[in-house]
C-alpha cells in the first residue's frame, strides 16, 4: 500500500470488478436481452470477440514461453515463463467465465462433455478449452506448492512438468487454430478480407506473435507497477523474436490475400477495408518495423508502447473476425451496450487482481516475494496511519486492503445496480407476411423457412382442410394472413380494439355488455371473446386452439406450436422413414432448399441481400 501507483491501479481494478458484478446480477437474473445489445442476427458480440476469441489469443503467451524456455532451452527467458503460464491460466479462466456470460443457458455449459456432437466446430473448441485449462492448472500447481510443506506433491508435479508442457503446447496448437476453423464454416458471414481457407493457420501464427508481445506487455507493466528494474536484456530478446514472428505473419497474411486475389479489396476505401488496414498497421506493420530497430529495443517506453500497440491490434483482429466483419453480411448495426464493456473489463480486472494476489504470495517471480517481505518490514517500523475523514485506524497490510478495496468495490457495485437496465426494452420486430406457397420469410432479414403448401394441403386432407391452419377469415379474405394478428416476431400482440367494440355496440350504454353490471370496470372483461365470436373463429382442432385472450401469441410461438407437434409425431412414424422431420433443420434450412425455393418463386430478386 506504500506503493501509491500499485494501490491506485488495484483500486481501479476493484471498481471495474464492482461495476461488472452489478451487471452480472442483471445479466443472470434478467437475461441477455436486458443486458446486451445482441440480437438473433448478431448473436456474437463483444463478449465472444474480446473475452473468448481475444482471451484465448492473449493467453498464447503461456504456450509460446513454455516452448521457448522448456523445449528450445532459451534460458534467458526463464524469468518470464512462470508469469506467462499464470497469465495463460487466468486468461483461459476468463474465457470460461466470459462464455458463461454469453451462453443463453449457462447452466448447460457441461453438455459438451456428455453429449458429443463430433461434427461441430464448437465441440472441438469446447474440448480444447476444457483440456487446456486443466493442463494449465497442472502447470501452475508447482508454483503454488513450491514454498508449502507439501514437498512430496511438489516434486511429483515437477516431474510431471515436461510431459504436461508438451501436452499444453500440442493442445494450444489445436485450439488456437480451431478458433479459425470455427469461422471457416461461415463463408457467407465473414467478410472476404478476413475469410480465408488459411484462417486456422493464420490464427495460430498470429497467436504466437500475440503471445510474445503479451509477455512483453506483462513484464513491462509489472516492473512499472512494482517499481522494479526492467529486465531489458530479456525484453530486447523478446522484441527481436516478436519482430521476426510478426514478419512471418505479415508475409503469410499478404501472400494469402494475393493468392486469393483479394489484395485490391484492401484499398477499396470501404470502412471494413479501412478497419483491416488499421488492424494490420497496429498489430503487425508498425511493431514489426520499429521493433527491428536496435535503438527502439534499447528503450523501455518504446518496447512497452509497441507491444501494447500490437496487442491492441491483434485483439481488434479477433473482434473483427468474429463480429465486426460479419456486420457486412447481416447488415445489422451492432454496438456493444455499456453493460457488455463493463463485463469484459470487469473480467479482465478480476484476472489482474488474481494475478497480483498469486504473484504477491507465491514464487511466480522471485523478486515479488522479496518485495512483499521488505514492504511488510517497512510497515512494521512505521506508525499507524488514520483514515482522513473517518478518523479511524484501518489496520495494516491485507486488513487495510480489504477495507479500502471493498469500499471501492461496494460503491461501484451500488452505482452499477442503479444505472444498470432493469427491464428489457420492447424491441418491435414486426413479422413479415408469408409470401408464395413454398417459402415463408421470417423477419426482415434473409431468413426463410421452406414450406411446401401443396404437400401440406394433400397431407391434411385436400381443399376442405384449409381451416385446420387458416383459423380466421376476415371479411373479403380467403385465409387472413397470419401477420394480421401475430404481428410481432417474438412478443405477443394485442388484437383487441376497444374503440371498434364501443362503436359497434352503441357507445357508453353498452359497457355492461362486456364488463358486467355493478362490477368495477377492469381491463379484463367479464365476458369471454368466444361468447360472441364463436361463429367467426374456426372450431378448435388438433392444430389450432381457440382462445379467450386479447393477446395473440408471437409469430414464432404461433408457428412453432402449430408445426412442431405434428412434425415430431410424424418423425416417430417408422413407415414414413423421415426420422429428421422433427428437427429444427427440417424447416430452417436457409441456404439450401428454402434458398432455392425462394429463387424459383422470386427470380427478380436474385439473392438475399448481403450474399456474395
Amino acid at each position: 500500500m506504500d506503493n501509491r501507483r500499485l494501490f491506485l491501479f488495484k483500486g481501479l481494478m476493484w471498481i471495474l470488478a464492482g461495476l461488472a458484478a452489478a451487471v452480472a446480477i442483471v445479466r443472470f437474473s434478467l437475461g441477455l436481452g436486458v443486458s446486451t445489445a445482441l440480437s438473433d442476427t448478431t448473436p456474437w458480440g463483444l463478449w465472444i470477440g474480446f473475452d473468448v476469441m481475444g482471451g484465448v489469443a492473449l493467453a498464447a503467451g503461456g504456450f509460446v514461453m513454455a516452448a521457448v524456455v522448456h523445449i528450445f532451452h532459451r534460458e534467458r527467458y526463464h524469468a518470464a515463463a512462470r508469469p506467462a503460464i499464470l497469465t495463460a491460466f487466468l486468461g483461459y479462466g476468463a474465457v470460461a467465465v466470459g462464455l458463461l456470460f454469453d451462453l443463453g443457458l449457462p447452466w448447460n455449459i457441461w453438455h459438451a462433455t456428455i453429449y458429443w456432437n463430433i461434427h461441430s466446430a464448437l465441440f472441438e473448441v469446447a474440448w480444447c478449452v476444457m483440456l487446456y485449462l486443466t493442463v494449465l492448472a497442472l502447470e501452475v500447481t508447482p508454483t503454488i506448492l513450491e514454498r508449502t510443506p507439501f514437498q512430496r506433491t511438489y516434486r511429483f508435479f515437477v516431474k510431471l512438468a515436461l510431459p504436461i508442457m508438451i501436452l499444453g503446447i500440442m493442445l494450444s496448437t489445436l485450439h488456437q487454430s480451431s478458433l479459425g476453423t470455427m469461422l471457416l464454416i461461415m463463408p457467407f458471414r465473414v467478410h472476404p478480407l478476413w475469410y480465408s481457407h488459411l484462417l486456422p493457420e493464420l490464427f495460430f501464427v498470429s497467436a504466437i506473435c500475440l503471445g510474445i508481445v503479451m509477455v512483453m506487455v506483462e513484464s513491462t507493466v509489472t516492473s512499472w507497477l512494482y517499481k522494479r528494474e526492467p529486465e531489458m536484456e530479456m525484453l530486447a530478446g523478446l522484441a527481436r523474436l516478436a519482430s521476426i514472428a510478426l514478419a512471418c505473419y505479415f508475409v503469410m497474411k499478404m501472400g494469402d490475400l494475393l493468392r486469393q486475389g483479394k489484395l485490391a479489396m484492401v484499398f477499396d476505401g470501404s470502412w471494413l477495408a479501412n478497419l483491416f488496414i488499421a488492424e494490420m498497421l497496429l498489430s503487425t506493420v508498425i511493431p514489426m518495423v520499429l521493433l527491428a530497430l536496435p535503438a527502439v529495443r534499447r528503450s523501455f517506453t518504446g518496447m512497452w508502447l509497441l507491444a501494447c500497440c500490437s496487442v491492441l491490434g491483434f485483439v481488434l483482429d479477433r473482434i473483427n473476425a468474429s463480429g465486426l466483419s460479419q456486420v457486412w453480411a447481416t447488415r445489422r448495426f451492432y454496438f456493444p451496450a455499456w453493460t457488455e464493456f463493463a463485463i469484459s473489463l470487469g473480467i479482465v480486472a478480476a484476472c489482474v487482481l488474481v494475478f497480483f494476489f498469486i504473484q504477491e504470495r507465491f514464487p511466480v517471480d522471485p523478486h515479488g516475494l522479496e518485495e512483499v517481505e521488505a514492504e511488510r518490514k517497512a510497515r512494521e517500523a512505521a506508525l499507524p496511519a488514520f483514515a482522513p475523514f473517518a478518523q479511524v485506524w484501518l489496520g495494516e497490510g491485507w486488513r487495510k486492503a480489504a477495507k479500502v478495496y471493498s469500499f471501492l468495490f461496494v460503491l461501484a457495485l451500488a452505482f452499477g445496480l442503479t444505472v444498470a437496465p432493469k427491464a428489457q426494452p420492447a424491441v418491435n420486430t414486426p413479422a413479415v407476411r408469408a409470401v408464395g406457397a413454398s417459402i415463408l420469410q421470417i423477419g426482415p432479414g434473409p431468413r426463410y423457412v421452406y414450406f411446401d403448401h401443396k404437400k401440406h394441403q394433400d397431407e391434411a386432407g385436400g381443399p376442405k382442410s384449409c381451416a385446420l391452419c387458416h383459423h380466421l377469415h376476415q371479411k373479403g379474405d380467403v385465409g387472413t394472413p397470419c401477420v394480421v394478428c401475430h404481428g410481432n416476431m417474438f412478443l405477443p400482440t394485442s388484437i383487441f380494439n376497444h374503440e371498434t367494440h364501443v362503436a359497434d355496440l352503441h357507445g357508453n350504454a353498452s359497457c355492461a355488455q362486456c364488463h358486467g353490471k355493478g362490477e368495477p370496470i377492469r381491463v379484463t372483461p367479464t365476458k369471454k371473446c368466444s361468447q360472441c365470436h364463436d361463429k367467426d373463429m374456426m372450431a378448435a382442432n388438433p392444430v389450432v386452439k381457440t382462445f379467450d385472450s386479447k393477446w395473440a401469441p408471437s409469430y414464432k410461438d404461433a408457428m412453432h406450436k402449430m408445426c412442431i407437434p405434428c412434425h415430431v409425431e410424424k418423425a416417430k412414424d417408422a413407415a414414413l422413414k423421415l426420422p429428421n422431420l422433427g428437427r429444427c433443420g427440417a424447416c430452417h434450412n436457409s441456404g439450401t432448399q428454402s434458398e432455392k425455393a425462394y429463387r424459383a418463386e422470386f427470380p427478380v430478386q436474385t439473392a438475399a441481400p448481403g450474399r456474395p
Binding site: Q391, R399, V410, L417, T418
Partner: protein
C-alpha cells in the same frame, strides 16, 4: 426543481438503498473478520460468551445508563433514537411510498404520534449537539464527522416535519421536499461508511470490544518493545 425532485425520488433513491444494502453486507463481512480476529487475539484465555452477550444486550437498554454524570445526554440520546427508529419506518407517507414501490406495506403510526416523535427527536438532537459543543470531554473527542452527522439528522427531521405541515413553512414546498429527500438519502448512503455504521454494527462492535481488550499473553512486553522501552517497568 421538479426534475430534481423526480431525480431524487427515482435514481438517487435507488442508489441510496443499493449503497445501504451492499454496504451493509460489506460491513457485516468485515465485522465477522474482526470478530474472528478479536477471538484469536484473546489467545488461550477463556472467552466468557454468556456474560459478554448479557453485557452487550444490557447496553441497549438506556435505563442502565441513567446514573452517573451524563444523565441528560442519555435521555436525549434515547429519545432521539426512539424517534429515529419509529418515524422513518412507520410514518404513513413513507409506508405508502414503499408499498407503491415494492408492493409490501405494514401498519403505520397515527399522524399526531409521528409529529410528537419527530419534535421529540429534534429536541433530542439539539441537546446532543449542544452537549457536543459545550461539554469539555465530548468536544475534545469530536471530529468534523460528529458535528456534520448531527446537522444532517437535524436537517432530515426538520424538513420532514415541514413536509408534513407545509402551511407552517416559509419556504416553498418543493424546496423543503427536495431537502428532505436529499438529506434522508444522504443518511442512507452514509450509514455503511461513517459512524452511523453503529446502526448496522451495534451487535458486533460491543462483542469485539469485550473480546479485544483481553490482551494476548505477553502482549505488554510487545507494547513496550514497540515503544522502544523493552525491559522497563510499565
Amino acid at each position: 426543481m421538479n426534475t430534481w425532485v423526480a431525480w431524487a425520488r427515482g435514481p438517487f433513491l435507488y442508489l441510496a438503498f443499493s449503497v445501504l444494502a451492499v454496504g451493509a453486507l460489506r460491513q457485516w463481512a468485515l465485522a465477522i473478520g474482526e470478530l474472528a480476529r478479536a477471538h484469536r487475539m484473546a489467545g488461550d484465555q477463556k472467552v466468557p460468551w454468556r456474560w459478554m452477550f448479557k453485557k452487550s444486550l444490557g447496553w441497549i437498554v438506556p435505563v442502565n445508563a441513567l446514573r452517573g454524570t451524563r444523565i441528560p445526554f442519555t435521555i436525549a440520546s434515547a429519545v432521539f433514537h426512539v424517534g429515529m427508529l419509529l418515524v422513518p419506518l412507520f410514518l404513513a407517507g413513507h409506508v405508502a411510498l414503499i408499498e407503491k414501490g415494492i408492493g409490501i406495506g405494514w401498519p403505520t403510526l397515527p399522524a399526531v404520534a409521528a409529529d410528537i416523535l419527530t419534535l421529540a427527536a429534534l429536541a433530542g438532537l439539539v441537546v446532543l449537539l449542544l452537549y457536543r459543543l459545550f461539554e469539555r470531554a465530548a468536544r475534545f473527542l469530536s471530529g468534523p464527522q460528529d458535528y456534520l452527522l448531527l446537522v444532517l439528522c437535524i436537517t432530515a427531521f426538520l424538513t420532514g416535519y415541514f413536509v408534513a405541515h407545509p402551511e407552517q413553512s416559509a419556504l416553498p414546498f418543493t424546496v423543503i421536499y427536495l431537502a428532505h429527500l436529499l438529506s434522508a438519502e444522504l443518511i442512507l448512503v452514509l450509514i455503511p461508511f461513517s459512524k452511523l455504521a453503529h446502526a448496522l454494527l451495534f451487535a458486533s462492535t460491543r462483542i469485539v470490544w469485550e473480546l479485544g481488550w483481553h490482551f494476548v499473553p505477553g502482549g505488554g512486553d510487545k507494547v513496550r518493545a514497540a515503544l522502544g522501552k523493552a525491559g522497563e517497568p510499565v
